[in-house]
Symmetry: C2
Subunit: 377 residues, 2 copies
């Protein structure tokens, strides 16, 4: 529980904390739903407390009863379910050459997707106009808005490649596009759309999206290999951004002291070695380099899973997964660990980034904001 950034907690904060917890369990339970008593068991609260909390959530329209379970000798349990269309969020993925926009409901289901051509090198006003247009478009799409009331959109999450500050929503020097330096994207986009906006790095958004999938581990790393190489880290169930949203600079980790020069000015960076091998068609070597970096990460942070993604990986999924897994398994064997950390891929090409961007807005509702939590309205 966190009461803004000070830490002191009062009764409203307590109520919000427990409501978020229940809401998160409802989200994870999905369409199948979950009974009040299971909620009580998972939260450690008394059944009566869960009854009160779920009653409030039902009154707010966020939860609903959905059938009953089979009796086990007494009154059957009533199943509760999240109401997916109680709220929506827009997710934007601003990549170098295209913009992907999705509309996600409260359950995390993508109900609309659109892609637009984009030149991230164009003037800011032009990019902003495209983004605002994309937001309007996906808001109008998806399932027909109910006749009673307009759909409630909580806000817009925007994910981009460059370094930026998540807290202030200000961009730093996006590689190759000097016009974005110190640009207050969050506030500008909020003004253009009239909605609250959250910005974050593309890899962080993707990692958050994966973390909110059911059965996600508490600690894992998402490695994104596209035109560059970056990582999103989930530690202790929450996104780790670091003090300056700089965490995840995975591409320029040195894995070959005094190795070949990299575009960043350093030598022996993973990105340089990996992309060079991939460029000359040696996927096995690219995977081996990536695996060495992944194994470093696994050892340093003791994570439970490595997820690979991005266009370059998508082109040779089996080779990359196999190559990375081989390095990790070999190192696990040396340490005498029985079960090596699993390596998987995040399907869907670049879509996980846009979907994760939408979760930047929705995650605070479920107490999954990560470090400094956003408040609910």
């Amino acid at each position: 529980m966190s009461n803004s950034r000070t830490g002191g907690a009062n009764l409203p904060a307590l109520r919000h904390h427990n409501a978020s917890l229940v809401l998160d369990l409802l989200r994870v339970a999905g369409e199948q739903g979950i009974s009040r008593l299971e909620l009580a068991e998972h939260t450690g609260l008394t059944p009566q407390a869960v009854s009160k909390i779920t009653a409030r959530l039902r009154a707010e329209g966020l939860a609903a009863e959905a059938g009953r379970l089979a009796s086990t000798g007494g009154k059957p349990r009533t199943v509760l379910r999240l109401v997916p269309d109680a709220g929506y969020a827009v997710g934007l993925h601003l990549d170098r050459d295209e913009l992907t926009a999705v509309l996600a409901d409260l359950a995390g289901t993508t109900v609309a997707t659109r892609t637009f051509p984009l030149d991230l090198g164009a003037p800011a006003t032009e990019v902003l106009a495209t983004a605002a247009h994309a937001v309007r478009t996906v808001r109008a799409e998806g399932p027909q808005a109910t006749c009673t009331a307009a759909r409630h959109v909580f806000g817009v999450g925007a994910a981009l490649p460059g370094p930026l500050d998540h807290r202030s929503g200000v961009l730093h020097r996006v590689t190759g596009f000097p016009q974005w330096d110190r640009y207050p994207l969050r506030d500008a986009l909020a003004e253009h759309t009239g909605l609250p906006v959250v910005v974050d790095k593309d890899t962080n958004a993707a990692a958050l999206g994966l973390a909110l999938r059911d059965r996600a581990e508490a600690d894992f790393a998402y490695l994104h290999l596209g035109t560059g190489l970056g990582a999103g880290l989930v530690l202790g169930g929450a996104l780790h951004r670091g003090a300056r949203t700089g965490a995840g600079e995975f591409g320029h980790q040195t894995v070959q002291l005094d190795g070949p020069p990299c575009g960043c000015g350093g030598r022996g960076c993973i990105e340089a070695l990996c992309l060079e091998a991939a460029a000359r068609g040696d996927v096995a070597e690219a995977a081996r380099v990536l695996g060495a970096g992944a194994a470093n990460l696994v050892g340093l942070l003791d994570i439970d899973r490595v997820v690979l993604g991005g266009r370059t990986v998508a082109a040779h999924e089996a080779a990359y997964v196999g190559g990375v897994r081989a390095v990790i398994e070999e190192r696990a064997r040396r340490e005498g660990v029985t079960a090596a950390v699993p390596v998987t891929v995040a399907g869907g090409g670049d879509r996980p980034v846009a979907e994760g961007a939408a979760q930047l807005v929705l995650a605070p509702l479920f107490g999954r904001a990560g470090e400094d939590g956003g408040e609910r309205d």
Copy 2:
């Protein structure tokens, strides 16, 4: 706030959370103390709530009034202070060849220190007897116990080199000492001493000790270079242990693909390169290798400080700090960052480990347990 591992919070949990928060602020304030209104400002609670909370803490003997500040035009503020001798903890550092035991008070001040010879390769019962003897010895030392009541010792924190599981208190294969494999050290030591016991890796203990010093950053890494090379990570103000207390395996990070073989069976590990250079007297090269690993870590986790420690570093402090700093500053310059992450040393040789071990017991009182929190009595 965390109510055991379930997450649900009730009123006692709320009370405990706020009390811990206030207690932590009192601890950080040290002998200088802190006024009620400052506590209110830092916690975000109302002054009245702080009055109630501090009244309870005073009734329990954990806090006391200590003088007044100068008036600013009205009634002067009353200064509150932690009562250091309200409780103590024993910290044990079980190294390969010696055992260091300290007695720390609530404020973190070491009031007694003793070292004993130890052979970590000896049978478990022998090592345990030495440890229990060390605990009895430091409990009897320090400032004279007040005549009113015996000193209250909260428990024993034990730090050791090998891999282990912090949650269960069971050791894994401590390098070179197969008899410790699967040994339930926590329970065994608890039985021998009659006190609650917490065990953790030496580097984690040291990092925790540093994290509890006043003005410590929320994110930093402690790199320990002794007979081996390990790391303790503090992320978001809390110790990051990972799911299996395995985090901090820094020594066997690959920084030279296909480099020289390491004792672990791998190639190009930092530890092998670093210790090899140190062994042949090339401190500059050892520092450069260590710096490369440290820079990787800084980039990956976006931490605020790197702290060096351990016997090998202590022998050439300036050279190591300078060498590591040079690598980190060079990389920061390439990324266009104005202020590079500072590099410092943890003085006192190996003592920070034993002092940090005592903090393993005290930290939960201040809500600084890290991830899964221990409860107060």
